[in-house]
């Protein structure tokens, strides 16, 4: 397991580039890009441009989200920003403000 985890209580300010899965339950400000999956856990605060192949949001995200595969916004999530992804699910109870671009 070499996934990157940002646990609760930890804040990263800057740019995070990765090849592996990234899981955030803490705070990230700046930019996040990975070739793999991104999980923004509940309680996480992300103020960043997020790019990944599979992006799951359960926490607060402010910034544009780009996914090569899909974006999944779960109940309780809060997303402010534009989404660019071929596939998108927004669960009941999630809040989202922004534009969606589902051009494949």
């Amino acid at each position: 397991m070499s996934a990157t985890v940002i646990a609760q209580g930890i804040a990263i300010e800057g740019e995070l580039t990765s090849e592996d899965d990234v899981e955030i339950t803490g705070t990230l400000k700046g930019r996040l890009s990975t070739r793999s999956n991104v999980t923004v856990g509940s309680g996480a605060v992300v103020e960043a441009e997020v790019a990944g192949s599979n992006v799951v949001v359960a926490g607060h995200v402010t910034g544009n989200v780009t996914a090569a595969d899909r974006v999944d916004i779960q109940p309780g999530a809060r997303l402010i920003g534009d989404i660019k992804s071929a596939r998108l699910t927004i669960a009941d109870g999630a809040s989202f403000k922004g534009n969606v671009d589902m051009d494949a």
Partner: protein, 274 residues
Amino acid sequence: MAQVLRAMWTWTHDVFVNFHAKSFAADASEKKTIMAEPTTIGTGTFVRGHIRGEGDLEVEGRVEGDVQVTGTVTIQSGALLKANIRGSHVVVRGAVAGDLFAEHVVSLEEGARVLGSIFAPRIGIAEGALLRGRVETGPASEHPVRVVAAKATVSRPTAVASSPARAASNFMSPPAKTAAMREPLPAAPPPARTTKPLVSREESAALTATSQPVRSPSVDRSAPARPTPPARPAPPARPAAVSEAPKTKKPPPPPVVPALKKGARASWKKKAAS
């Protein structure tokens, strides 16, 4: 009959209680594992920026920027950091260019390569670890102030150049001020250390020298949207890091044995024979 009933009751009671105890224990352990999940920067991950907060940190990838956490910082083998690191414990098995500060212990384990100074009450350097820099043991409260004072002069321009939010959240600013106020006074030394002024001057010079390569990434960071350099494997970093340091030092002495051309010795022999 009553005895049998009582026996059955106690048995069922025991089973019930045990079952619940077990399930609670399982719950607790599960929660613990979830809570104990440390922050990890994985092998394929590169962070450019600073990492702050409460909890432990484990680095297997690359980090450029400052690291300041309340828990244990573990730098695994294969990791590559250009950062000043602060934590309660700092364990190094990888490569670090930057200063290490710990509230309790800094331990360099086998495979560690550190280019920078170490300040901690307790310091361990294992066989197979490599260190180039100052080492200072003593109470943790003594060092960061002086170090911050020396470093503040270097770091101030970058702090101003970067965003105001960062400057505001810069943990170094308040201690830097207090340290600057304290600096004119000759740091009241304990009687045992008579060579203190000389040491501190050398130290500040060494600090500026060592902190220069460390500071460079933060300057880079302020440049907008610079493409990230390709990920380098750990081993090549050492020559690069070493090549940074000699700038401040005099060039290495010439080799003891002069380099000779191929066949030079043979020609001497020939001359001697003839």
